[in-house]
Amino acid sequence: MFELTLQALYSGLLTGTYYALVALGLALVFGTMKIINLAHGELVLLAAYVAYTAESQWSLNPLAAIPFAMVVVSVVAIAVYLLIDRIKKDRELNSLILTFGIGIILTNFVLLVWSADIRSTTTPWFQQAVVFGDLLFSSRSEILFFLISVALVGATWWWLSQTWYGRATRAVSSDRKAAMLMGVNPRQTEILSFVVASILATVAGIAIFTGQVIEPSLGHALTVKAFIITVLAGMGSIPGVLLGAILIGVVEALTVTYFSSSLQELTGMVLFLVVLLLRPQGLFGFGVRRG
């Protein structure tokens, strides 16, 4: 039993890090625009399918497909931004319905182009096992993307706290008017946050494609999961997002180990509701979102 628990903790840690990439993108856009992009998970999915096409049609290594997928996802994300930008009235709720609609479009686009079949990488290198001390099992893909994800979360944190653009983004999210007075162009930072979110989403998409399996309905599930994580984290806390993502990863893995895989989703949801209702500022944050 101890080995199983240890393995669950380990797997949860590995999955949690790419969850963090997805959630961080959602949180960034929420930070600058105060809207939740319900099509965010579909962007991740899109990147994964671009990698699938690159691999199956052009025999490209999924890693080599990253730049290409980034361009595709960023272009779509900017289109999403431009549509949101056209909403003038009741922005908060209309943007929710708008991005919900975009999510439906993307999911069905994926379904039409790539069919409902489950796909995964055919490059064997990614699937090979990495075993630590005869105890902890994982694949090369999981280890690789664990490292990349941690590095990217760190890079995002550095970008937000150390660079001018990053600080401008934070300024816009805390006080839009004041930021404008300081010479920050909020539109620019909004687009930038969408692009950074797209980059993170792309890497997460490739991680899923090489480490797990992809199917059209995955996008929506990822959006929901990312939202749950940002709620756990408390908006605006990057270490919180990482911790929240790992927490979800671990709790899911433990649920599968001790109960059943059909309950995996339930634990995340229950955790979400408990935190939302009892500690709306998040486990690790200070934000307030009561009406």
Binding site: I35, I36, L83, R86, I87, K89, D90, E92, L93, N94, L96, I97, L98, F100, G101, I102, G103, I104, I105, L106, T107, N108, F109, L111, L112, A116, H220, V224, F227, I228, V231, S262, L263, E265, L266, M269, V270, F272, L273, L276, L277, P280, R289, R290, G291
Partner: protein, 326 residues
């Protein structure tokens, strides 16, 4: 102004008499219309919550599913007659909504998504609580709608009348509520919540009431569906489609009007099934998504207000034309 009173009356008569007379013998079209009305019923409930309560829900499937399950199980396991069981289904959904009420404290997007979380939780519970719900295998041979005064309500036309009546009663209740003082207070809360509170409006209580009412209607519609198709399983009863289609319908028709959601449901569902589906058997929902996006960007108030504006504009032009001629 007078047309506002006559038009609904004409529409109601047409729905009760003309539609069955014209299409009653075409089984396929009739069943599509029944399905469209089912969506329409949820759309009315969803729009009511959005328009009067100022709340967007992404989880109405939760209330649909609970209503369906409660009614199906009461008829099968407790021997209830179908119609009382359907009302109990609505009540069950309203009670389920009480569980979700702590979410009322949350702002827009958080509320919307916590209701979604509840829908997922309810679906998983329906799958796991096998001893009560019979699990993932679902429930077969749910009792059909009864025969009343020699009229078989389980026939295509019979079930059409049942769901039509449910939807129209919901709309009538909605219209009455919107004109009432409570409805006025709810409308005002949308933009000026503090100002309504300081004159004594218990806003959270009113929102909770709206949520329960919306859940009740959705639950009754879910119960109707269970007795109409006589089969139920968790993935079907709590399917995301019961959330997506009503939202598209309500936004398309105009969620701040009484008739918009129903008009939207009839147009969207019938066009989707008869046109889009024929050239896109899989993934035709892409067009629904595109419609949703287009409506929000181009005409966020929806189709019904758009048509009304156009009609007024045409009328004015015509009258002006008359004046010019005279």
């Amino acid at each position: 102004m007078r047309a506002n009173g006559i038009l609904p009356a004409v529409a109601v008569i047409a729905l009760y008499l003309l539609v069955p007379a014209a299409l009653g013998h075409v089984d396929y079209v009739m069943s599509l219309i029944v399905a469209a009305l089912t969506i329409g019923g949820i759309a009315v409930a969803w729009a009511m919550l959005g328009n009067l309560g100022g709340m967007v829900s992404f989880g109405h499937a939760a209330f649909f599913g609970v209503g369906a399950y409660v009614s199906a199980l009461l008829t099968l396991d407790a021997g209830w007659p179908v119609f009382p069981a359907m009302l109990a289904g609505g009540a069950g959904a309203a009670i389920a909504s009480v569980v979700t009420m702590p979410a009322l404290r949350l702002r827009g997007p958080y509320f919307a998504l916590s209701i979604l979380a509840f829908a997922h939780i309810f679906r998983i519970l329906a799958t796991e609580l096998e001893s009560i719900t019979r699990g993932a295998g679902g429930i077969l041979s749910i009792p059909v709608l009864p025969t009343v005064a020699g009229f078989d309500l389980s026939s295509k036309i019979g079930s059409y009348y049942v769901i039509l009546t449910i939807v129209l009663m919901a709309m009538a209740g909605y219209a009455w509520l919107r004109r009432s003082t409570v409805g006025l207070a709810l409308l005002a809360m949308h933009d000026t919540e503090d100002a309504t509170k300081v004159v004594g409006v218990p806003s959270t209580r009113l929102k909770a009431m709206m949520l329960a009412l919306s859940a009740f209607i959705t639950g009754v519609v879910g119960a109707f569906n269970a007795h109409q198709i006589n089969f139920l399983d968790p993935d079907y009863a709590f399917s995301g489609l019961w959330t997506v289609l009503p939202i598209v319908a309500a936004i398309f028709g105009g969620y701040r009007t009484i008739s918009g959601p129903l008009v939207g449901a009839l147009v969207i569902y019938l066009v989707d099934q008869l046109v889009f589906k024929s050239f896109l058997p899989h993934g035709h929902e892409i067009i629904l998504g595109a419609l949703l996006v287009a409506m929000i960007v181009l005409s966020p108030t929806g189709l019904v207000p758009l048509v009304r504006q156009t009609v007024t504009l045409v009328r004015q032009t015509v009258t002006r034309g008359h004046h010019a001629a005279a």
